[in-house]
Symmetry: C2
Subunit: 209 residues, 2 copies
DNA sequence: TTATAACTGTGAAAAAAATAACAGCGTTAC
DNA sequence: GTAACGCTGTTATTTTTTTCACAGTTATAA
């Protein structure tokens, strides 16, 4: 039995950042990169980068640092599922549409395959390249399209209900844009993207430093 | 000399959450609340709540817990500036518009007073209740309207340039939606809201747990 | 009045995360 | 060939954050 070396949430986030950076470096035709370069570009320390990379078990060379292509590949093998993971978006307002625009085609291994909205005008239309279904078809679509991840982009008052539907449908990874703290059973992971809180924090630190 | 008891970024974020919750409780006409209730509703431990509240120096009673109104007020005095803090938004695409809709009128002490876009079609129009200016007026508007906080909602490739303009104009608190790691001088606070990273994290933990 | 109960505020302990420190190792320079 | 260099991988240390544990407090009830 393989020892499930636990990797922290923080590290996963940084690995995602490093990968984005490597993608850029590849575009710039850079072949090798040192931990301190990655560090500089992603705003962390070199030691942290090396420590994070320990987690995925890719080794660089002491002379040339890391091979950009191989490191990118290693991180991808670590972060991505072997097959594509399908994603559902609930809430196709401005924010939902921004999410669709923004995330579509960005990651080859993550695909938003269905959107849901309660507005009848939107239902059964294709918006930003994504078919919009009524909410009552959620569970069916999740099952049919093997959806594993949900994005909540509805008003705060509706977020918990949407979340409950997601969890009941078997979704275990959720990105929540709504201004609400979601109650979920253990085993379900919620990523919080709370504009209101972030703005308040930024405003606070703009004053206090 | 007053000892500047440093309060962690994490704590600031939670205080913002608690306040939102208290606002809800007030609407429900709840008068008193215990630390374990706040904890339950915001998904943290009771000890954490009490410790966070230590930071703002508001004391509850051992019998009735905290007075909802007074605690709300205390957190607000702590988080908010005495006067309104003005905010500028750069990038009025789907996301920018969602941000405008979403944040306008939500916090009395934070007001988005100007939007900026390079698209001439949008410039000099009022979008979602906010006047849109061309980017070259940024510094002037910041000065004129005493803007302290900036929100970046442009594509990743333009984010650093926008950020530099903000910093040069004296802004010290930034909310960044763009998929880019911003370089800023010390003293400038950047709040990261990165959809791509969040989605990847959610997808990872949906698989791994 | 005195005992009971349930909470807060906070020091102490534990856990988690970040940083520092350094041994070891290919390259290069001489 | 070998000394010196500058990097990685990893252990040790420090710092930060969270949790625990409990003394102290205030209402209530007998």
């Amino acid at each position: 039995m393989i020892k499930t070396s636990h990797i922290s949430e923080r590290t996963i986030g940084r690995l995602s950042l490093y990968r984005r950076l490597l993608h850029q470096l590849q575009a710039d035709e850079k072949v090798n990169v040192f931990s301190h370069e990655i560090a500089q570009l992603s705003g962390v320390t070199a030691a942290q980068v090396r420590r994070d990379l320990m987690a995925i078990g890719y080794s660089g060379s002491s002379v040339h640092g890391y091979d950009v292509y191989q490191l990118n590949d290693s991180i991808s093998r670590f972060l991505d599922a072997p097959q594509i993971q399908n994603v559902a978006l609930v809430g196709v307002g401005n924010l939902g549409q921004a999410v669709l625009t923004y995330l579509s085609g960005r990651r080859p291994k993550l695909s938003i395959v269905a959107a849901f909205d309660k507005n009848p005008v939107k239902v059964n239309r294709v918006i930003n390249g994504c078919r919009c279904y009524p909410m009552n078809e959620f569970a069916a679509q999740v099952q049919q399209q093997k959806i594993e991840v949900g994005i909540i982009a509805v008003p705060g008052s509706e977020a918990q209900a949407v979340c409950d539907t997601m969890v009941a449908s078997g979704i275990r990874g959720i990105v929540n844009f709504a201004p609400a703290t979601l109650k979920t059973p253990t085993g379900v992971h919620v990523e919080v993207l709370d504009m209101a809180v972030s703005l308040e924090k930024a405003a606070y630190f703009a004053r206090i430093g």
